[in-house]
């Protein structure tokens, strides 16, 4: 919740909610309070006073009872005084009664319940008063009693003392008299008398004591009868006794007057005592009676009081109950309201707490944890952990904004550091480089100050300047200049440098040397430090001198040469000499920098020579020949050429050409030739001329130590043609052949007709047997091309025998004989081939024989392998197909090029078998890789013309497809134009059949050999393969480019696919792409691959698409 809110908003919401909640709580509180106040009011106004009054009344009632008890227990007036005056209690009671009465009316309680209470109360008061009165009386009585008792005791004591005094005095008197021995009769003198008196005294005292004793009984008597008995029976008796005693005493002492008053006193005392005890007027006896009476009354009143009080108590209890009920009602009402308010309060508090917690969590989430993260991140940054970044959450949260900025800052920081680090690294590397350079360069590198003083040097400096290590510092640079340079300040050096950086210098040992020097400020900001590089160029200068000298010499030679010399590169004239100008009647400006073609009479001548010459040149051999060239004034002339590549391995270096005008000589030769007899038909030299020529050539060759070759050429099956088509056709054919032969050889070579269908050729000044073989091949090819005779297409083939001078003979006869022999050998060999005569060549021939044998075995030994060169769809970049290429790895021969063994296979008739194997293997390969390949993938297999023989090709192809399970759609068969040479009709029908199976038909090497556009019409073709020779020069040679373009355009129009072979560079590819070539094949994409490699290639292509 609120994930996207900013902190500020959250806080605002929080405060709003809090305020609202507080207001709500306040209102509830106020409401609740109000309720409380109301209830309280109700309680205080009615219930509480009621309760209070009721309770108080009970208390007062209890006080009444207590008071009563106290009264009962009170034993003195002081005690009574101490008791609470009843008035107080009455007041209280009545006050409370008023309260209750008024409350009752207010609350509507039943009056009848409480009114009897008051009446009972009144009754109680009455009884209580009675009780009080009685008790007071009783107390008064008791007090009086106490008084009386005290009095009695006091009297008794007096009595006792008086009696004692009497007796004492008498004793004393007697004692005194005794001592005085007096006989006075004042008193009783005898001891017996004294004793008698003492007895009386004692008796009286005892009796008095007894009376006192009885008095105690009286005090404790608990019934009237007993009282009476005590008085009548006991006390009075003792009274009499005492009186008697006293009387006797009186009598005994009657004669002593001084004792009389004492006796009287005694008597009086006794009387007093008796009075107090049982006399009238509140005697102890009376008082006791009263006490007894009081007691009875007290009991009954108490009883009554208790009864009334019980009633009051029950009244009060009822009242209390009523009041309680009422108050309970009021309270429960209030309680329920309070409860409700409490719950509401509680709920809202919970709400507030929850919201508070929620907000705190939210805020904390937004502040504390991000802050903590921020802090951690900052800390990480501070301890140089520059890769720490914060995770940014969405939202408008200020903290997150901060985090974002932090991240940016950290990123910048990181970048800065990285930059710094890399700068530092590169600086370090730079430094290292510089140090290495400084240490490594063979030049002296010095740093100078602006005065020219050397500050530091590199190690080489010492060597360059021929000084000892470390001896250069502090020296001035100026001292290393020769005087001739006139250098006195650094500024002079700077000035001189503007002209040249080479100076005449003096080394440390003051030896002169040539100095190359550069001087630059170390930095554009600091002009105080300069860097100076010094090179010792003495040797070079010397070399330069030598070179100039040599060059001058060479130039002289060149210009003075007797032959025309031209330096060519890529058939462009770089430089010519004077003689050349002479020969070609031009100024060198006219030819230098231009193509050499302009000295040729025709384009064809230019091309022909080029082909002939460069073939030789590339092997490092000299090319020599006589050609007809064109002077710039338009004049043709015969020229003897000699050329050599400057560096055969590097054709880019160019070649040197020597030209000699042999026009005159040539004319002589021609004249000579013209004199010779020519064959009527073909206008070729006849036998004699040939012999002559050969003789001539042999001599020349002998003389020049050059080699020559003699060809004996026989047309195969000429007779057949002659017979079938007639002599006229045969003648025409012979002329054609002658023409073709002539075109195959150089101008200097001889083609002669010996007769019939025998021709001879002399190749002079041959370089190698290979050259000869090449010519022979060429001748074979030329001858085997079809001829149109009366609208009929005819094909023938030659058998050629070749002999070489001097290898196969040094004279004409030997050469002729051997060539002838070689020719027959060729015929034996199956015709349509050439054979060299020499044993050496036979070795080649036998080599060929051996290879044949090997090839035969090869099929059994499974030495054939298939390589596949992928074809790429230029538009999609996907693999579009693959060309199956036959490879033969022989144990004996190693890897043999198909160009060598395929013809042999064809000759020995194994081509069909091998071809079938190839086809089968190719189909199997396709099936193995089918899943990785696009649906329109074409497995391309080459067909040889020989395979068409027998007419079984189509069915065997069909069979192969069926056996391997391959679809015809995925098979492409490549054919060359040469298949038409033998049996065109068969070829066409087979092709049609194959095409109708759905197989894609492609024409290979299109544009080379017997190219005929009409074939495109006749063959059921789907694909055109542009020969690699055109592709190779497509960027360089505008002709090739034009051809390719034309082929592509034409194919497009004809609805044919095009495959460009031999794509080796991106530029070629670009060209092809530009011209919308469909498929391409070549090293640029892949060389031919073995199966595993192809599989891998296909997988890679699949994934890289």
């Amino acid at each position: 919740m609120f994930k996207l809110w900013s902190i500020r908003n959250l806080l605002q919401l929080w405060s709003f909610v809090t305020v609202f909640a507080v207001i709500l709580l306040a209102s509830i509180t106020i409401y609740s309070n109000q309720q409380f106040v109301n209830t309280q009011k109700s309680l205080t106004e009615t219930v509480l006073p009621l309760e209070n009054a009721s309770r108080q009344m009970s208390e007062v009632a209890a006080s009444f009872v207590t008071r009563q008890k106290q009264l009962v227990l009170a034993d003195s007036t002081q005690a009574i005084d101490k008791i609470t005056p009843r008035q107080q209690l009455e007041q209280k009671f009545e006050k409370h009664w008023q309260t209750i009465a008024s409350s009752v009316t207010v609350t509507g309680l039943d009056q009848h319940n409480i009114s009897p209470l008051f009446d009972n109360y009144q009754q109680f008061l009455v009884v209580d008063s009675q009780l009080s009165t009685l008790i007071l009386q009783d107390i008064a009585t008791s007090e009086l009693m106490q008084e009386r008792i005290k009095q009695a005791e006091s009297i008794e004591t007096q009595f006792q003392q008086k009696v004692e005094a009497i007796v004492g005095r008498i004793s004393l008197q007697l004692a005194k008299e005794k001592r005085a021995n007096s006989q006075s009769t004042q008193i009783i003198t005898s001891q017996d008398d004294l004793n008698y008196l003492k007895e009386l005294a004692q008796s009286s005292r005892v009796n008095v004591l007894k009376i006192i004793n009885l008095t105690l009984h009286v005090i404790q008597a608990d019934n009237v009868d007993l009282l009476l008995s005590l008085r009548e029976n006991d006390i009075k008796q003792y009274q009499l006794s005492v009186q008697r005693d006293i009387a006797q005493l009186a009598r005994a002492l009657s004669h002593i007057k001084s004792y009389q008053p004492l006796i009287v006193d005694l008597d009086r005392n006794c009387e007093q005592l008796i009075n107090i005890v049982i006399g009238q007027d509140n005697s102890i006896y009376d008082l006791r009676l009263t006490q007894l009476r009081h007691k009875q009354l007290l009991t009954s009143i108490q009883q009554e009081s208790i009864t009334i009080f019980d009633v009051i108590v029950s009244d009060l209890a009822r009242l209390s109950a009523i009041v309680n009920d009422y108050s309970d009602d009021v309270i429960s009402q209030a309680a329920s309201t309070a409860n409700k308010a409490k719950w509401l309060f509680f709920l809202i508090s919970i709400f507030i707490v929850v919201m508070m917690a929620r907000f705190v969590i939210a805020i904390s989430q937004r502040i504390t944890s991000p802050l903590a993260e921020l802090r951690t991140a900052m800390h990480a940054l501070s301890i140089q952990q520059f890769d720490k970044r914060l995770t940014i959450a969405k939202g408008k949260n200020e903290i997150y904004a901060l985090a974002k900025d932090f991240n940016t800052f950290a990123d910048n920081n990181q970048r800065l550091i990285d930059d710094l680090a890399s700068a530092k690294d590169s600086l370090q590397v730079r430094e290292q480089h510089i140090t290495a350079i400084l240490n490594g360069v063979p030049e002296a590198i010095l740093t100078l100050n602006s005065a020219g003083i050397i500050k530091s040097t590199n190690p080489e400096a010492a060597r360059v300047l021929h000084a000892e290590e470390g001896s250069l510092e502090g020296l001035n640079l100026i001292q290393f200049f020769a005087a001739s340079e006139k250098i006195s300040h650094l500024a002079d050096i700077a000035n001189s440098l503007q002209r040249s950086q080479e100076f005449a210098g003096l080394d440390y040992r003051k030896q002169p040397f040539s100095m190359w020097l550069s001087l630059n400020p170390l930095s554009s900001l600091n002009n105080d430090l300069w860097v100076c590089v010094i090179s010792d160029i003495t040797a070079r200068k010397q070399a330069e001198q030598n070179l100039i000298q040599t060059s001058t010499e060479l130039d002289t030679i060149l210009e003075n040469a007797m032959v025309g010399i031209a330096f060519l590169r890529d058939r462009v004239i770089l430089r010519v000499n004077h003689k050349f100008e002479e020969i070609f009647a031009c100024d060198r400006d006219q030819v230098e920098g231009k193509s050499v073609e302009q000295i040729f009479p025709s384009r064809e001548a230019y091309d022909q020579l080029g082909e002939q010459a460069y073939t030789v040149l590339q092997f490092g051999e000299n090319y020599e020949g006589e050609v007809q060239l064109l002077r710039l004034n338009g004049e043709k002339f015969w020229c003897s050429l000699s050329s050599k590549a400057i560096d055969p391995k590097n054709p880019g270096d160019g070649s040197i050409w020597l030209y000699e005008d042999i026009t005159i000589q040539r004319e002589k030769d021609e004249k000579l030739l013209k004199l010779a007899s020519l064959d009527a038909l073909t206008e070729l030299p006849n036998r004699s001329v040939f012999n002559d020529r050969l003789d001539h050539a042999v001599h020349k060759a002998n003389r020049n130590a050059t080699r020559l070759a003699v060809f004996f050429l026989d047309l195969d099956h000429f007779k057949h043609i002659n017979d079938s088509l007639g002599h006229k056709a045969g003648d025409i054919l012979l002329c054609d052949v002658a023409q073709r032969l002539r075109s195959c050889v150089r101008e200097g070579d001889t083609v002669a007709r010996l007769g019939g269908d025998e021709f001879t050729i002399i190749l002079e000044e041959i370089r190698s047997a290979q050259f000869v073989a090449k010519v022979a091949d060429k001748i074979t090819l030329a001858i085997t091309k079809s001829y149109m005779l009366d609208g009929t297409e005819v094909n023938i083939s030659p058998s050629i025998g070749i002999s070489l001078f001097p290898a196969d003979g040094r004279d004409v006869e030997t050469l002729i004989k051997n060539a002838d022999a070689a020719m027959y050998h060729a015929k034996k060999n199956g015709r349509n081939n050439f054979q060299f005569y020499s044993a050496e060549m036979n070795a080649q021939a036998s080599e060929r024989l051996a290879m044949e044998t090997s090839l035969r075995r090869a099929v059994e030994l499974n030495e054939f392998g298939l390589h596949f060169q992928p074809q790429i769809n230029l538009f999609t970049g996907n693999i579009a197909g693959a060309e199956a290429l036959l490879r033969w790895t022989s144990a004996q021969w190693g890897d043999v090029s198909p160009a060598r063994f395929v013809p042999i296979l064809e000759d020995i008739g194994l081509i069909s078998e091998v071809g079938q194997v190839v086809l089968t293997k190719a189909c199997q390969t396709y099936m193995a890789l089918k899943d990785k390949l696009p649906a329109d993938f074409k497995m391309a297999v080459n067909l040889s013309g020989r395979q068409f023989h027998g007419g079984q090709l189509a069915s065997s192809v069909r069979q192969t497809l069926f056996e391997t399970g391959m679809s015809a759609d995925n098979l492409e068969l490549e054919i060359t134009e040469s298949i038409l040479m033998d049996d065109a009709a068969l070829a066409i029908s087979t092709l049609t059949e194959l095409s109708e199976m759905g197989i894609t038909m492609a024409i290979d090497d299109f544009g080379t050999g017997y190219s005929s556009l009409s074939y495109l019409k006749r063959f059921p073709l789907d694909v055109l393969k542009i020969d690699r020779s055109f592709v190779r020069d497509v960027n360089v040679d505008s002709d090739d480019a034009a051809i390719v373009d034309a082929i592509l355009a034409m194919s497009k129009r004809l609805g044919l696919d095009v495959v460009a072979e031999g794509v080796e560079t991106a530029e070629q590819l670009a060209f092809l792409q530009q011209h919308e070539c469909h498929r391409v094949q070549g090293y640029f994409f892949s060389r031919p691959l073995e199966f595993e490699q192809l599989s891998q290639f296909v997988s890679d292509k699949q994934y890289s698409g």
Partner: protein, 308 residues
């Protein structure tokens, strides 16, 4: 007593008078743990051994007094058989008699039952019988040890001296020498009173202090040995209380008094209390009343008599 302690919450009670009263009050003070200080009684009930914590006395016991008297009497040549006793018929009288007879026993005379012991009723003057008895005694007493209040004692002395003028009357301090002197006839002699305070005319600082203060605060009153004793008791109490450091409580008062050691109140003898000693002094002074004058008594007076 109970009222004072329970209701008035007194901290200590000073100067309870009388031995029978002491017999009642001592249990109360012990129970209520309130100090009874300087009771005007030499009774043994106030002198338990070891002393009760809550009873402290100034004066020596009656036993001490009687011992001193008996010792003096016997030393002066009067035979034990010639000693008689006149006592009040109550506890005080009993104490005096018992003390004297115990003293006699200590001095070797054990037939104390044979000695004449006459008594008079408390609160009466009926001493004639006692006089008569003594006059009829087989052996004429030469010294009478008296334990009684001054009025009956004075009457007794008067009546007996009429018949036997040579008898020496030895009173316990309780009688009060000044009171006795005032009650006796002018020609009375051979009356000796033991005192627990020095002779008023002797010059002790405490007596001077007492006389000065009495004149100052109660000029109407005549100085006498009883009030002097009261003054001294109050003075000692004061000394004990002012030494209290903390709150003055029932217990701290006792502690304060118990700590009094060789305290000089100007009595010429140091006052010491301790936990074991709750009697301030042991010294007794003797006064003789002769021809209405109080003089310090010395036993030599008795000897002179004997020699005569």
């Amino acid at each position: 007593m109970r009222e004072m302690i329970d209701q008035d919450n007194v901290l200590a009670i000073i100067g309870n008078v009388g031995t029978p009263t002491a017999i009642v009050t001592v249990p109360i003070t012990n129970q209520k743990k309130t100090l009874l200080f300087g009771a005007f009684s030499g009774g043994d009930v106030l002198r338990a051994d070891p002393p009760s914590r809550y009873v402290m006395n100034y004066r020596p016991s009656y036993a001490d007094e009687t011992e001193k008297l008996i010792a003096g009497i016997l030393n002066s040549g009067i035979k034990a058989e010639e000693i008689a006793f006149f006592t009040q018929q109550d506890g005080f009288g009993n104490a005096g008699y018992l003390g004297a007879t115990n003293a006699l026993k200590r001095h070797g005379y054990h037939d104390t039952d044979k000695l004449w012991h006459v008594r008079y009723s408390r609160n009466s003057l009926n001493v004639e019988g006692a006089v008569a008895t003594l006059l009829n005694a087989s052996i004429e007493p030469k010294a009478i040890i008296m334990a009684g209040s001054y009025a009956p004692s004075a009457r007794f002395i008067e009546l007996l001296q009429q018949e036997l003028p040579e008898i020496w009357f030895f009173n316990l301090s309780f009688v009060g020498s000044y009171a006795l002197k005032a009650s006796l006839p002018k020609d009375a002699r051979h009356v000796v009173v033991t005192q627990v305070v020095p002779d008023m005319r002797s010059h002790y600082p405490i007596i001077d202090e007492y006389l000065a203060n009495l004149k100052r605060y109660s000029p109407a009153l005549e100085p006498n040995d009883i009030s002097l004793e009261g003054y001294i008791v109050a003075k000692i109490f004061h000394q004990g209380v002012i030494g209290i450091a903390g709150e003055i409580t029932k217990e701290s008062i006792i502690d304060g008094l118990e700590q009094l050691h060789k305290n000089d109140i100007g009595l010429g003898i140091p006052i010491s209390f301790s936990k074991q000693d709750h009697q301030a002094i042991d010294k007794l002074w003797m006064i003789t009343i002769d021809q209405g004058e109080l003089e310090p008594f010395s036993w030599s007076k008795l000897n002179i008599l004997q020699n005569q």
